[in-house]
């Protein structure tokens, strides 16, 4: 009986993925790969993505489903980051911002964008109930592609961002010059042997998760969950379902914005143009792998999913390479198969109309 209900909770797809991860880890150990390096890069990869995966939570809980359009939030974050860098450049003569302040400024500047975009995006999603996932995907694609035009025309003057010749912002804007690269990763970083624990990065992910957790226990959070899991119940309880969905969308967008800044500081660059295009799919797949469905999710799913999915991505490449050098693309291929396989599986489980 107990094992039966356990099996029901951890369904087959997740079991396979978890086993695959365990298999990879055992193989990595057996092959005497550099474990310290693997653990270090796993930790930083997990920390990088944690908030982006977390951004899926309010979206699913509020009933709009996995936020395939979190690229909107990502773009808001990038805009915030660029604005902060631009401001720092313009004020260089007057004041030098410390990296920490600059990072907070980036977050601060991205918030108004994220709030505004989130409200508009939520309004749109309220009008297309039942097709949110497809619409969100294409809204994301459209915005990313129109932003490619915008990156060319936006009046940024900071030479660290602009192409030396031609116009527009670079494809990748380096954060190292102003000490932003690895800022959180290095904050309170702990070194155990060769393993580096990016304490600041993990802490900021945990802080965001904690805030979301508190939010979910507030009146608004409870109302949002009610609206998401049973809109008719919520309506009868005097909750405005549409409003809760907008709140969920805004929250998801804001987390997307914060998430990309945390991601970018670890990566060392702001990735513009194509950069945000396919990031939502990774985040969606991660939370689904963690055990969420398109209509149900909690913090545990975020944590488990981020560790499993991003852990696999880090470990798979060296393991595959250890077998044969020709299998260099194996990491990317397995990511594609797992990521999209899991999303497909979740779609079939949703049971359609």
């Amino acid at each position: 009986m107990a094992s039966n209900s356990f099996l029901k909770r951890i369904d087959l797809a997740r079991l396979i993925i978890a086993e695959f991860f365990v298999f990879l880890c055992i193989t990595a150990v057996a092959l005497r790969l550099n474990l310290a390096e693997l653990i270090t890069s796993s930790l930083s990869r997990i920390g990088m993505w944690s908030v982006l995966v977390l951004a899926m939570l309010p979206a699913i809980v509020s009933g709009i489903g996995p936020n395939f359009g979190v690229s909107l939030g990502i773009i808001c974050g990038l805009l915030g980051g660029l604005t902060a860098l631009e401001l720092a450049y313009r004020l260089d003569e007057i004041v030098q911002f410390s990296p920490g302040i600059l990072f907070l400024m980036a977050i601060l500047f991205s918030l108004p964008f994220a709030l505004l975009v989130g409200v508009g995006y939520g309004w749109l999603l309220n009008r297309v109930k039942g097709s949110e996932m497809m619409i969100a995907t294409y809204v994301g694609f459209s915005i990313v592609s129109i932003m490619k035009l915008a990156w060319v025309f936006l009046p940024f003057t900071n030479p660290e961002m602009a192409w030396p010749i031609g116009r527009g912002v670079r494809v990748q804007v380096a954060l190292g010059n102003r000490g932003l690269a690895q800022l959180l990763n290095n904050f309170l970083a702990i070194r155990i042997g060769e393993v580096v624990i990016p304490t600041g990065l993990l802490l900021s992910g945990a802080l965001c998760a904690l805030l979301v957790w508190f939010f979910m226990r507030s009146q608004t959070g409870m109302a949002m969950a009610a609206a998401g899991s049973n809109p008719r119940f919520a309506q009868a309880a005097g909750i405005s379902v549409d409003r809760q969905r907008i709140i969920g969308t805004v929250l998801s967008t804001v987390l997307g914005a914060v998430g990309i800044l945390i991601y970018s500081q670890s990566y060392g660059f702001l990735q513009l143009y194509e950069g945000p295009m396919f990031m939502p799919f990774v985040a969606v797949a991660a939370i689904l792998i963690g055990g969420a469905s398109v209509s149900k999710a909690n913090i545990t799913h975020v944590v488990v999913g981020t560790i499993l999915f991003l852990g696999i991505q880090v470990v798979a490449v060296p393991v595959a390479n250890a077998f044969t050098a020709d299998w260099s693309s194996m990491g990317e291929i397995s990511r594609k198969i797992i990521q999209n396989g899991v999303i497909l599986y979740a779609l079939t489980q949703a049971g359609g109309e």
Binding site: F214, R217, M222, A236, G238
Partner: protein
């Protein structure tokens, strides 16, 4: 006649998820006979027809017991397609039409006239061409049999509902082997003259030798066209009558008659306080339960029952007051006008609602019992929260204490306050719903279908609970129920809703006949 019956249903029983909805139903129909089937909501009419039509809901829930015979041959109908092959046609309650097709294409839906072509000879009959000429001709002929001048080329979208209904009938008539035709509430969507035309058409169809099963709650229509009438109640055949051996009064009584013995609540009609809830010219646009114009007054401290047949609008009243469906008119609580179309306003005014759709509207199935109980007060009145300025956190301890109190008080059977509501039985779920409403500390409690889908023992408990709340706490309660017997056992007055209006208000000890007549839309003539 004296011929063999065209359709014979023997010992039909069916249960859904453990609830028996049909018990040993027998039915026989002769060719050319119009056979009426009447019964209250939930009497089993639609389940019986679903069995006859081989609908998927029957087979995906374990099939049925008993046997079907068509023209003396036993048959087992597994799909609508097979039903069609046996010559059974059905005019459904909702339209089964495709809006962008023409009338003719709808009439010939999946029975298109085909002609082979070169490709179909090579690649199979699926690629045969449609023979539009002959489809139009067939459609014209079928429509001609109904004496209606509908343009067979016209697309369905934009036609008046009456035409849609006739298109559906024409589709059935066009089936060459049609032997049995089922009409499920065919006049519900029609205006008076269209309804009259339809009844005439039904008689003509029967005159051609087709057996007609006519399902309706309009007893006058039954008396007008049927040869024989079967009355269903609680999934059983309570009577089969010839038309000239019965009358509307008897049918009404048979239909409503008490299925369970409850103590009639006759002594409680005296205490009448001041009006607490006044409803004037109230209209609610609830699909399938349209409220057209209701005037009703509820007095402090009473239990008012709202009864009537399904689809007449009784369910719409409470839903409209609670702001769940678009409503207009005037509602006053303690003399204060209530803002309509706002659940928030209704809750703030001290109303609490136990919905008829327990699993859909009443509960968060995947949330804990304690959370469900607290949710109404939390969302409606901001209770169970610790707040710091704009920030709030749920007060877990208060929620737990409140839940434990009600679990004990109402006797909810569960493993504990954190059990998921989905795992509870229907009766216990209903108790959670009531606990949720009580936690909101309402001035008026609106309860819809309190005993729907729960077993007999639990029914009594829920009803006793409502009575106790009323007697001991003086709570004003408005109960809406399809089960008249229940209403009569706990209410002090019972309003019967017919056609979206109050047909009359009766005492619980009024006669069955009076209840039956009001429900069937007939005026009460004498004192009876």
């Amino acid at each position: 006649m004296g011929a063999a019956p065209i359709l014979r249903m023997r010992g039909i029983s069916k249960s859904f998820h453990g609830t028996q909805v049909l018990h040993d139903v027998n039915l026989e129909i002769m060719p050319g006979e119009i056979h009426g089937i009447v019964g209250e909501n939930g009497a089993g009419k639609s389940t019986l027809m679903n069995i006859l039509f081989g609908m998927d809901v029957i087979h995906s829930t374990g099939g049925y017991e008993g046997s079907l015979e068509i023209a003396g041959k036993p048959v087992d109908i597994k799909s609508p397609l097979q039903a069609m092959e046996h010559g059974i046609g059905m005019v459904h309650q909702e339209f089964m039409l495709l809006p962008s097709y023409s009338v003719a294409e709808n009439i010939k839906l999946n029975r298109e006239v085909l002609k082979p072509n070169l490709v179909s000879r090579l690649f199979g009959s699926g690629l045969q061409s449609l023979d539009y000429e002959r489809m139009y001709r067939d459609a014209r002929r079928a429509l001609g049999r109904l004496n209606v001048g509908i343009d067979e080329f016209a697309p369905i979208a934009g036609l008046p509902v009456g035409y849609m209904q006739f298109t559906e009938i024409a589709r059935e008539l066009d089936k060459e082997n049609l032997r049995i035709l089922v009409f499920d509430e065919p006049t519900a969507v029609l205006g008076e003259s269209e309804a009259a035309h339809l009844l005439k058409a039904i008689q003509e169809i029967a005159a051609e030798g087709i057996a007609v099963l006519f399902i309706t709650h309009r007893l006058s229509e039954i008396m007008e066209v049927c040869h024989n009438i079967t009355v269903l109640r609680d999934g059983r055949v309570v009577a089969t009558r010839k038309k000239n051996e019965t009358n509307v009064l008897e049918l009404a009584e048979l239909m409503v008659g008490r299925s369970m013995q409850f103590n009639t609540n006759s002594k409680r009609q005296v205490q009448r306080g001041k009006p607490i809830l006044e409803v004037k010219d109230f209209k609610v646009d609830m699909p399938g339960e349209q409220v057209r114009s209701v005037d009703l007054t509820v007095y402090q401290g009473e239990i008012l029952g709202i009864g009537g047949l399904a689809g007449q609008g009784k369910i719409g009243i409470a839903n409209g007051i609670m702001g769940l469906f678009p409503a207009s008119g005037e509602v006053k609580i303690n003399g204060e006008p209530l803002e309509l179309n706002s659940s928030q306003a209704a809750i703030a005014a001290g109303l609490a609602f136990v919905s008829e759709d327990r699993r859909g509207v009443g509960l968060l199935l995947d949330a804990s019992i304690e959370l469900n109980i607290a949710s109404g007060a939390m969302f409606g009145h901001g209770k169970f929260l610790k707040t710091w300025g704009p920030f709030s956190q749920t007060d877990r301890r208060a929620i737990r204490e409140n839940a434990l109190k009600y679990i004990k008080q109402l006797g909810v059977r569960c493993t504990g306050p954190t059990q998921k509501v989905r795992q509870l039985s229907g009766g216990n779920q209903q108790k959670v719903c009531i606990a949720r409403a009580l936690t909101m500390n309402p001035k008026i409690l609106l309860v819809s279908e309190p005993t729907r889908g729960i077993d007999v023992g639990a029914k009594q408990v829920v009803l006793d609970l409502l009575r106790e709340l009323n007697e001991e706490l003086g709570m004003t309660i408005v109960v809406t129920s399809s089960e008249l017997a229940e209403l009569r056992s706990i209410c002090s007055r019972i309003a019967i809703i017919t056609d979206g209006q109050v047909a009359g208000i009766l005492r619980p000890d009024d006669s069955d006949v009076n209840f039956g007549l009001l429900m069937a839309g007939q005026p009460i003539e004498k004192g009876a």
